[in-house]
């Protein structure tokens, strides 16, 4: 090959790199390992962690442990899905494109919105993109962030706001979810961002708030961090939401220590040209056969550059495929039954735990996660229980260090918790508080 090129050596091919820029010494990194050695090292690292499946496990707060049917992982590991690129050549990417079209349809149905995109990085970045889209639609630059919005989501939106140049008014968190958001809306407000179920677990009807937003020329952005909840509770679309920004990890995707996750993004037809991200659309080929393409790309960075609606390029394609396949397996009956099962589990657990002396249930309503008020700070208790092999829940202080939230513990129940897990948690918590 070097002879064809006319070069003396591989190093000679780098002759355009000035000598001053060349690294003349080997990288100070270990030599390569064989496959079995890599596996051994990785297994040793993995063994240092307490995996969720090895303990009674009740963590949520925006990442949920659900059962993923075996068929999902089998299908997403097919090389044709796993090792393909963004479907820029539609004639040989119909598999990805049709799956995305199905994904978009499922997301639109679940959220009760008109249209959904082909995914964002995660729920929090989807929420930040939703605010920037609301800014474009309304030509305003102020977002009101509800107190019941996940603290990480508030933080991500605020970070984007600082650099993109929009204001964020963050309402103080109230575990009871009794924010008076309507009073804060004025004619400079681009959007109000709320969460349902709220960060603390309570369920809201935002229909009146949507009306107030619309009368003021603002948009309502509804965040959903547990997408499974929409199998049981009134969807954002039915409340008048303009944009839904959600985390889709619960369906089809593992906990993965926080990523990769799946940002879901849905809106109304009238705003579609202001959406961020990719969209798959239906069309026909030269023989009149139905086919799918990426469309409305005049919104996107590879065409519009600095005028694009977002800088996003790579999104969460394979996570979206896992979501779509899991949803396809669930179907209408499975999705609603799984949601009902989660709620029933949480009701059962809330009753057990709130019977412990000193423990009170904060929420009036919830889906599969609720907030407990403990008689003292929750973080040391959760850590002590973890030492006993019990992953009890998420102390709110882990996400929001405000002193008035220190005693709060978020507890999630899913279809994976057994009665024995719940009993173990109740005993552990009772002992820890004794």
């Amino acid at each position: 090959m070097l002879a064809v090129i006319g070069a003396k050596s591989v190093d000679d091919l780098f002759r355009d790199v000035p000598a001053s820029a060349r690294l003349e010494t080997p990288l100070d990194l270990p030599p390569g390992l064989g496959e079995l050695e890599v596996e051994r090292v990785m297994a040793q690292l993995a063994a240092k962690n307490l995996s969720a499946g090895a303990a009674p496990f009740f963590l949520g707060a925006g990442a949920y442990r659900h059962h993923v049917p075996a068929a999902v992982d089998y299908l997403i590991q097919r090389g044709e899905f796993l090792t393909s690129y963004t479907p820029y050549q539609p004639e040989i990417a119909q598999g990805t494109l049709q799956s995305l079209f199905e994904f978009q349809t499922q997301v639109a149905l679940i959220t009760d919105m008109d249209v959904a995109n082909a995914s964002m990085y995660d729920g929090a970045t989807a929420a930040a993109e939703a605010v920037m889209m609301a800014n474009r639609v309304t030509r305003r630059k102020k977002a009101i962030l509800a107190g019941n919005l996940h603290p990480h989501y508030r933080d991500v939106i605020a970070t984007y706001g600082r650099f993109n140049g929009f204001a964020t008014i963050a309402v103080k968190p109230d575990p009871q979810g009794k924010d008076d958001l309507a009073a804060l809306i004025d004619n400079a407000t681009a959007c109000v961002v709320v969460q349902n179920p709220g960060f603390f677990g309570e369920i809201h009807d935002f229909t009146a708030l949507a009306d107030t937003c619309h009368r003021a020329g603002a948009l309502l952005v509804v965040v959903v961090t547990e997408i499974l909840s929409l199998g049981l509770i009134k969807p954002p679309g039915a409340m008048g939401a303009d944009i839904v920004a959600a985390e889709g990890q619960s369906i089809g995707n593992a906990l993965d220590f926080g990523g990769p996750y799946l940002g879901l993004f849905a809106t109304r037809d009238k705003f579609v040209r202001q959406m961020p991200g990719r969209l798959a659309g239906q069309t026909v080929d030269a023989e009149g056969k139905r086919g799918f393409v990426l469309t409305l790309s005049a919104r996107e960075q590879h065409i519009r550059r600095e005028k694009a609606t977002s800088n996003i390029c790579t999104n969460s394609g394979l996570c979206a495929l896992a979501f779509t396949i899991h949803m396809a397996l669930l179907g209408e009956a499975g999705f609603t039954q799984l949601a009902a099962l989660n709620h029933a589990q949480a009701v059962k657990l809330a009753d057990i735990l709130s019977a412990i002396p000193g423990v009170t249930l904060v929420n009036d309503s919830f889906f599969n996660e609720f907030t407990l008020r403990l008689p003292r700070p929750a973080a040391p208790i959760a850590e002590a229980l973890a030492e006993q092999g019990l992953l009890a829940g998420v102390p709110v202080s882990r996400l929001d260090p405000r002193p008035d939230l220190a005693d709060l513990l978020l507890v999630a129940a899913t279809e994976l918790n057994t009665d024995a897990d719940m009993a173990a948690l109740a005993i552990g918590l009772r002992e820890a508080l004794r």
């Binding site: 080997p26 044709e80 393909s84 690129y85 199998g231 220590f257 519009r304 669930l330």
Partner: protein
């Protein structure tokens, strides 16, 4: 139309069902809906009084009901309509479509990584934090940079992260700079990122050698310039050999040097961006370090930072503590100047495991061989095609080769037609019409994975197509692809009258 094409179009109607052997038409999920079916068997729901606050969902959602065999067959059939790295060479320039080793998939699925919640007590996730720390070490060593932010979810997200760090550093200096310089050959994400961060984008032209025009760059520098966003090797597949001078000029003007790391594959073990005066750079783990593209993601875009920017890195920070590794998750202490979060949790852990497995498999010397093989393969393609195709710039290439459409001459065949004909040859086309600085660009990146035999077959197809185009067989190219699951798709109508989801009523419309 050639006789051959006529014969072909006669055949394509031969199957009354519209299939082509193994390539059968597959309905949408929603068109296979059958009441009462399900692909899952869940336990029964215990009877409890609900606590939904009266907000139970009414009515049907409209999700289709299918059995497990139906779902498996549906997605298996759909998968067969995709081209992939596993199928063949995927020479998309600037995308680095390299082999995805399956050991990476296996270890990423170990429950000790995949089944960890991001908010578990730190004492229960020390192995995960150790893995992140090891990845950070490899990335810093490879790039010669001081710090790394692991949380960005993809390349463009890394760009945002880096440009936010730069803006924060300028703010800390009390400076309000408004312009970001971006070469005309840059990826679209660069100007889009600068704009998202509130900057005005000022393009820099390329010189006759396909590199940044240093004189033009210097003329544009000024006290209002925040940064330059450079790709190196650039998207013409050329090393920006004036990079040290660029860094010097940019720094002298008080601006920062952002490096787009999309093409890091060409530099591994040979050039450390830190030695080039780079202040900040994102790394695409899904390009350079072999984590799979998955049909469009997920990616992972860690950002390496020079010392001057390190204190602005976004939360969370991973630090060594008395009781092992821990995460700083609030802006306090050493992290008081940190950017807030840019993503909900700590980063793309699943991708970290895969990328580190790739790095450990190669080791330091193996990574240097990666860049050598990638550049060797690209130059072999260049040398084997340059008499027939038209390379845009003289000399050697780095890891990818840029041709323009001059070789198509007066044939009437366009870059698009040529690319579509390559599909019929069994290949995924190269990147087309990018970079924008040459006419009808064809950007070819073979990666280090391709064997000489595979490259020779690809070269033979490219040469045969080029000769056919030059012979004036325009009709053949205009109608390509002939053999793909779909012929060319009507993208204009798709954009003009968007159909972005299935609806019950579109079923009959589609059948019309």
């Amino acid at each position: 139309m050639s006789d051959w094409s006529k014969a072909l179009s006669g055949f394509s109607a031969a199957s009354p069902g519209g299939g082509h052997g193994l390539d059968v038409d597959e309905p949408l999920l929603f068109e296979d809906d059958g009441p009462g079916r399900s692909g899952v068997d869940l336990p029964p729901v215990p009877k409890v009084a609900d606590r939904l606050g009266g907000l139970r969902r009414d009515g049907r959602i409209g999700l289709p009901s299918l059995s497990e065999p139906q779902v498996i067959r549906h997605y298996t059939r759909l998968s067969q309509k995709n081209y992939s790295i596993d199928t063949g060479i995927y020479p998309l320039g600037s995308c680095t479509m390299k082999h995805n080793p399956r050991i990476n998939e296996k270890v990423a699925r170990l429950p000790g990584f995949a089944d960890l919640h991001p908010l578990q007590p730190e004492a229960t996730v020390q192995g995960a934090l150790e893995l992140m720390d090891a990845l950070a070490h490899w990335l810093k060593t490879i790039t010669g940079m001081k710090a790394v932010a692991l949380s960005p979810a993809a390349g463009a997200h890394g760009e945002i992260c880096g440009m936010m760090c730069i803006k924060a550093a300028l703010e800390a200096r009390g400076e309000h700079r408004v312009r970001v310089l971006v070469p005309e050959s840059a990826h679209g994400t660069n100007p889009a990122t600068a704009a998202t961060c509130g900057y005005e984008v000022d393009p820099i032209p390329a010189d006759a050698r396909g590199r940044v025009d240093l004189a033009a760059l210097k003329a544009k520098l000024g006290p209002d310039v925040a940064a330059i966003m450079l790709t190196n090797p650039n998207t013409c597949g050329l090393f920006e050999d004036q990079s040290p001078a660029i860094a010097e000029a940019v720094h002298a003007a008080g601006a920062y040097f952002y490096l787009d790391g999309a093409n890091l594959n060409a530099l591994l073990g040979r050039v450390r961006p830190g030695d080039l005066g780079v202040d900040c750079m994102h790394i695409n783990l899904h390009k350079t370090f072999s984590t799979p593209h998955g049909g469009g993601g997920p990616g992972s875009g860690p950002v390496v930072l020079a010392e001057s920017l390190a204190r602005f890195a976004p939360l969370p920070w991973l630090v060594d503590g008395d009781e092992g590794l821990r995460l700083i998750e609030q802006k306090e202490g050493a992290a008081k100047d940190a950017l807030g979060r840019i993503k909900a949790f700590h980063g793309q852990m699943g991708m970290f495991v895969r990328a580190l497995a790739f790095m450990m498999s190669h080791g330091g010397a193996g990574l240097r061989q990666v860049s050598g093989d990638a550049v060797l393969n690209a130059n072999y393609l260049l040398a084997s095609l340059k008499d027939l195709l038209t390379p845009s710039f003289a000399g050697l290439s780095m890891h990818e080769v840029l041709f323009d459409d001059r070789f198509l001459g007066e044939s009437g065949v366009t870059t698009l037609d040529f690319a579509k004909a390559l599909i019929d040859e069994g290949y995924h086309p190269m990147t087309m019409y990018f970079p924008l600085i040459v006419h009808g660009a064809l950007l070819v990146e073979p990666t280090e994975n391709e064997s000489k035999e595979s490259l020779d077959r690809f070269i033979a197809s490219m040469r045969a197509l080029a000769e056919r185009a030059q012979a004036g067989d325009k009709a053949f190219f205009e109608q390509a692809p002939h053999f793909a699951p779909r012929r060319r798709l009507d993208e204009v109508t798709a954009a003009r009258k968007p159909i972005l989801r299935w609806r019950a009523e579109t079923k009959s419309a589609a059948a019309e």
